[in-house]
């Protein structure tokens, strides 16, 4: 029996905590190392995403007949290419980067090219292993997911 369990039993014997509280603490003490071991094992076993898939389903208005036709965009970008691109952004002179940021901001994309870091991409990919980003504005449906 480890120290934590002994302390909980002592607190219960002294009447400092109720039986329910003691049971909850026991579960927490027993469960915590197991949970952390499982989660660290999962993290180690989890493969690194190799691609980022972007799928866009939308309707495009035809210039000639004015009708709306379904339009599909399917993009697969290798993660290694994104990393190489991020490295390349560090070479862009400050003035040029500011102009690019300004042009992107006009299009509604607020990105600071000089602040792009590889760690940010790693964080994003870690998050994408567990979820799929879905955006639906009524006109188009965008899905972003990681692939292996």
């Amino acid at each position: 029996m480890n120290d934590n369990k002994k302390r909980i039993l002592e607190m219960l014997a002294a009447g400092k905590i109720s039986v329910d509280e003691a049971a909850r603490l026991m579960t927490a003490v027993e469960g915590a190392p197991f949970v952390s071991a499982v989660s660290s094992g999962e993290a180690a076993a989890r493969p690194t995403p190799r691609y980022l898939r972007v799928l866009v389903d939308g309707l495009n208005q035809d210039k000639h007949d004015g009708d709306r036709h379904p339009e599909k965009v399917n993009i697969r970008v290798p993660v290694a290419l994104i990393r190489a691109g991020i490295k390349l952004t560090s070479l862009i002179p400050r003035e040029a980067a500011e102009q690019v940021d300004k042009a992107l901001a006009e299009k509604g994309v607020n990105v600071n090219l000089k602040n792009l870091k590889e760690e940010d991409l790693t964080e994003l990919l870690d998050a994408l292993t567990d979820l799929v980003i879905e955006v639906d504005d009524g006109k188009s449906h965008v899905r972003v997911r990681a692939e292996y």
Binding site: D62, E71, V73, N74, L81, R83, K87, L88, P93
Partner: protein, 92 residues
């Protein structure tokens, strides 16, 4: 080992149907490499001249950076489909 894209698959609409084209990129690499080696001394001189203006590092590192991007483009795929038309750019 990471291999560069060896083929480029293009699909584009023309005359009521889609056309596919396979371009052998592996044949272009030796030419590009030779051109890069030829351009290297000139790039070094240009980098030295532009160093004071803040563009020296960019000139010096642009070539390896571009090669790095080309090398890692394998698997890049762009597919756009609308109405009866389909466009595809795929680095294989």
């Amino acid at each position: 080992m990471i291999w560069p894209p060896l083929l480029l698959h293009l699909v584009f609409p023309a005359c009521r149907r889609s056309w596919g084209l396979w371009l052998p990129l592996f044949l272009i690499y030796p030419i590009l490499l030779a051109l890069s080696l030829l351009a290297l001394p000139f790039l070094l001189i240009a980098a030295l001249c532009l160093w004071h203006f803040g563009y020296g590092r960019l000139t010096l590192m642009a070539l390896p950076g571009i090669w790095n991007v080309i090398w890692k483009a394998r698997g890049l795929e762009l597919n756009i489909g609308e109405k009866n038309r389909e466009y595809l750019i795929k680095f294989v």
